[in-house]
């Protein structure tokens, strides 16, 4: 197993290198550059030319890539053109806010959708099954921006239970548990929006996987030998049904860090989603590279984790 993991980790290096070349080329091939976005009667063509020279934007893509990769190998992710700050610093200031929100939504989503999925499967075609299928489908079809505004109207403006936006109270200096409470209070509405939208996927997965398992012979055998239904479902069926779900968990690792552009924007949650979009619009190459390389790495890592946990939970699978 250790050997397998080491091999997979080593394999990541050439893959990441290939990804970096691809995305670097794609961003650079898009028309315009960070300087062409500076259209301002006070910025002359000479100033733009000077900035381009300073930032090496005049040189061929391959040379620019060389600058970037050499710095990257030394652990220097470059400087964002837009923020005039090291890329790592920019990412760091937004990444964790996104992570907290996504993680909370992920946990809440799992806690809700797995039991619902199991119940839907065991009571297939019952009222319960239909009701939750409909709810989940509404969740996945409802545009998050509309749902978010609706929640703000109901809970923040009319009922005044939750704040309109933000992550903490304005000017707050809270720390420790007080800060945690404040953040949770602000997180409530965006959390509902994100979770509601993601419920359907995991729930339907659990449901179909469960349905498949309870039709297996060994479940019939378990019932035949007189085991109680609860034991049959939760001990024998559920454990096997959850194996494919584990893969989905692994795959969602990059999603925890990529931020939710629309939800974060509506609630002014200081996450990385809107920052990424802005980086695309302003052609902030190094920041884009930083964010995308991080996500690429997390995707590969997520796959690896999924594979490894698969082997752990499913004895039929052997990793070599």
């Amino acid at each position: 197993m250790r050997q397998y993991i080491t091999r997979r980790l080593l394999e990541m290096i050439p893959v990441l290198l290939g990804i970096s070349i691809m995305i670097f080329a794609i961003f650079q091939l898009a028309p315009g550059d960070p300087i062409s976005a500076m259209v301002d009667p006070k910025t002359s063509a000479a100033t733009k030319a000077k900035l381009r020279e300073q930032l090496h934007l005049n040189e061929p893509i391959i040379v620019q890539y060389k600058y970037w990769i050499m710095d990257m190998l030394k652990g220097n992710w470059g400087e964002s053109f837009y923020y005039k700050q090291p890329v790592t610093k920019v990412i760091h200031s937004f990444l964790w806010n996104s992570f907290y929100l996504s993680l909370a939504s992920f946990i809440l989503g799992a806690l809700l959708s797995i039991p619902i999925g199991v119940l839907s499967a065991t009571k297939q075609y019952s009222k319960f099954d239909y009701i939750f299928t409909v709810i989940a489908l509404i969740g996945i079809s409802m545009p998050s921006f509309f749902f978010g505004l609706l929640l703000i109207k109901w809970f923040a403006v009319d009922l005044k239970i939750f704040p309109v936006s933000g992550m903490t109270n304005p000017g707050s200096i809270a720390s420790g548990f007080a800060l945690f409470k404040e953040v949770m209070y602000h997180m409530a509405l965006p959390l509902i929006v994100l979770t509601f939208g993601s419920l359907a996927g995991l729930m339907r997965y659990t449901r179909s996987s469960m349905l498949e398992v309870i039709r297996q012979d060994y479940i019939r055998t378990a019932r035949a030998k007189g085991l109680r239904e609860k034991v049959v479902i939760y001990k024998h069926a559920l454990r096997n049904a959850l194996i494919p779900v584990v893969t989905i968990f692994g795959m969602s690792l990059p999603g925890l860090f990529s931020g939710a552009i629309i939800t974060e924007q509506i609630f002014n949650w200081p996450g990385i989603g809107p920052i990424e979009l802005q980086a695309v619009n302003t052609r902030d190459y190094y920041l884009l590279m930083g964010i995308n390389m991080m996500l690429a790495f997390l995707t590969l890592l997520g796959n690896l984790i999924a594979d490894v946990t698969y082997a752990v939970v499913d004895p039929r699978i052997r990793l070599k």
């Binding site: 301002d40 009667p41 006070k42 936006s165």
Partner: protein
């Protein structure tokens, strides 16, 4: 649209720092408002102050101002967004500031002299101004601030403020590190500094408004500006507030500087809280935010109904336009441009789209500017006139309803940007209007950054539309001069007109305001006649200010940060 303006068109950093000598201004601010006419400022007073929510009443020592997220470049020589410039203007004070009419006012500099030839500016710094750490602000700090912009490693947006200084090239291009100072920046004594320009330029005074940085705090070795950049989030100036806390994407918190040289600020804490256009009405009406900009007319209506806001509406210093590539022989004919202008129902479009939140634009200067003139052609919608002009220009209408010249159909490919309601509405109206003239318009939508490259860097277009944010000075040579008719330059349409060139140059070197006004009047008439652009609209800014806040009187050249030390929170009964 608003977003595009702020993001890409680089809202000019108007010199909008705090104000001048305290005594002089106290009357001035209130007078300022009344001295503006109705087309320059409209104020809707709060009708129902008692409706102010409890949550705002309880917030006695904190002012909360809504903002778009700043970038965290909290430095006077690096800030590039309007929102960063707000932060900078609370923390830093510059040599000069401006009044509501857009005239320069003394600030850190008590007074200044401009030499007879217009090339030498001498500023006399007020004694006893202290930075936040208690050290005195002197001419050395001013010299340091402007020398930093000249530094070879400087990569910010202010180069154009110093490139006309004597000795800039020598200092900036110096690879061997032998040139120790910029010749044109001279410290005469601790309270006197002199700048010498290579050529006289009347608008140059505005280059000296940027906040002064303390040398002892920001000093760096020539060629190594990184040290200064590392201090973006620990800014120190001589302004009314200090930075207390910055949460990227969420808020900026300021605490008052009790030793502020113009007097102790009245509000202890100021918070710039990030809001967005989708929820700004909710933030304001629920009492979470005291001041914020409100875009759409429907939203203004909602704020008005809330009853506890004073709403200030005034033209933003910008105009939108359609650019035609004048290198294209169809458009180099003035009659065609005029026909297109007459044949477009701009008034109809503006009232349909902006619902009173904008006015028709006919010349490239803001209606707020002292140089603005009304004595120009209004190009009212007139199809007959347009058709006649096109006939004269040799475009003949054939039986299919389209116009032809030399066997070629009049078809315009219009490059424009995606994701904008403004564009969507304009496309519909323009296509229909010009179809009636016999002109086919084919819109090509693309992402904004792509459009910018095609228009400015490659100059491969027939027609496009964008907007300009214009500065406090009416000089437009940064947009329309011959020198800008280069790839990457701002004169992307390629307007070359000797008369215009002459007038713009005269305007640049004339220091007498009345005479300048006369020059710009002529120039605006010329631009209105020649139509380098098809001018569209002047949009309005609407700023809602809670009735509990006293002393914030925004107008075109005055932000909420102006005279912030005098702003106070009052009890509302």
């Amino acid at each position: 649209m608003k977003k595009f303006l702020s993001l890409f068109l680089g809202i000019l950093i108007l010199v909008s720092t705090a104000s001048s000598c305290a005594k002089k201004v106290s009357n001035q601010v209130s007078n300022d408002n009344t001295s503006l006419n109705k087309s320059q400022l409209e104020v809707i007073k709060a009708t129902n102050p008692e409706k102010l929510p409890q949550i705002s009443k309880d917030r006695k020592d904190t002012l909360i101002v809504g903002t778009t997220a700043p970038n965290g470049t909290f430095n006077p020589i690096y800030s590039s967004s309007l929102y960063d410039s707000w932060v900078v203007s609370l923390i830093f004070d510059g040599l000069i500031t401006n009044d509501a009419q857009g005239n320069p006012l003394p600030n850190v500099a008590e007074k200044w002299d401009i030499s007879q030839d217009g090339k030498t500016y001498t500023f006399y710094i007020k004694k006893g101004i202290k930075f936040h750490d208690g050290k005195e602000l002197t001419a050395e700090d001013v010299a340091f601030t402007f020398t930093a912009i000249c530094d070879p490693s400087y990569d910010g947006p202010r180069t154009d403020a110093v490139m006309y200084l004597e000795g800039y090239e020598e200092y900036n291009k110096d690879k061997k590190n032998t040139v120790k100072e910029v010749k044109g920046i001279k410290v005469i004594d601790p309270y006197t500094i002199q700048f010498t320009l290579k050529e006289a330029q009347a608008p140059a005074i505005w280059n000296f408004g940027y906040g002064i940085m303390p040398k002892h705090y920001y000093a760096f070795e020539k060629g190594n500006i990184k040290k200064l950049k590392d201090l973006f989030l620990k800014p120190m100036g001589a302004g009314a507030y200090t930075l207390k806390n910055y949460k990227p994407g969420a808020e900026v918190v300021f605490e008052k500087n009790p030793n502020y040289w113009k007097g102790e600020p009245k509000i202890k804490t100021v918070v710039m809280k990030v809001t967005n256009a989708n929820t700004v009405v909710q933030e304001l009406t629920s009492g979470n935010v005291d001041i914020d900009g409100v875009g759409k007319p429907e939203m203004v209506e909602m704020i008005k109904n809330a009853g506890f806001f004073n709403i200030y509406s005034y033209p933003s210093n910008s105009y939108s336009y359609i650019g035609l590539n004048l290198r294209d022989e169809r458009f180099s004919d003035k009659r065609v441009r005029q026909a297109l202008m007459y044949g477009l129902d701009r008034k109809g479009f503006i009232s349909a789209y902006y619902k009173g939140n904008a006015q028709v634009c006919n010349s490239p200067v803001s209606p707020v500017s002292w140089a603005y003139t009304d004595e120009i052609n209004k190009y009212e919608y007139n199809i007959e006139r347009a058709n006649k002009l096109l006939d004269e220009a040799g475009w003949v209408k054939k039986e299919d309803g389209f116009r032809y010249k030399d066997g070629k159909k009049f078809t315009i490919h219009w490059m424009t940007y995606t994701g904008s309601k403004f564009v969507e509405s304009l496309v519909a109206i323009l296509k229909d209007n010009w179809r009636k003239l016999g002109i086919e318009v084919v819109p090509e939508l693309m992402e904004f950054g792509t459009l910018v490259e095609k228009v400015y860097d490659k100059r491969e277009f027939e027609m496009y539309n964008m907007a300009w944010s214009v500065g406090i000075d009416p000089d437009s040579s940064g947009i329309f001069s011959k020198a800008q008719n280069v790839p990457g330059g701002n004169n992307s349409v390629g307007w070359i007109n000797e008369e215009s060139e002459k007038l713009m140059n005269q305007g640049l070197v004339e220091f007498n305001k009345e005479k300048r006004k006369e020059i710009y009047k002529q120039w605006l008439k010329l631009a209105n006649e020649e139509l380098p652009y098809l001018f569209l609209a002047y949009t309005k800014d609407n700023v809602a200010v809670s009735c509990r806040v006293k002393g914030v009187n925004p107008s075109p050249y005055i932000d909420w940060t102006y005279d912030i030390h005098k702003v106070e929170i009052v009890d509302v009964k």
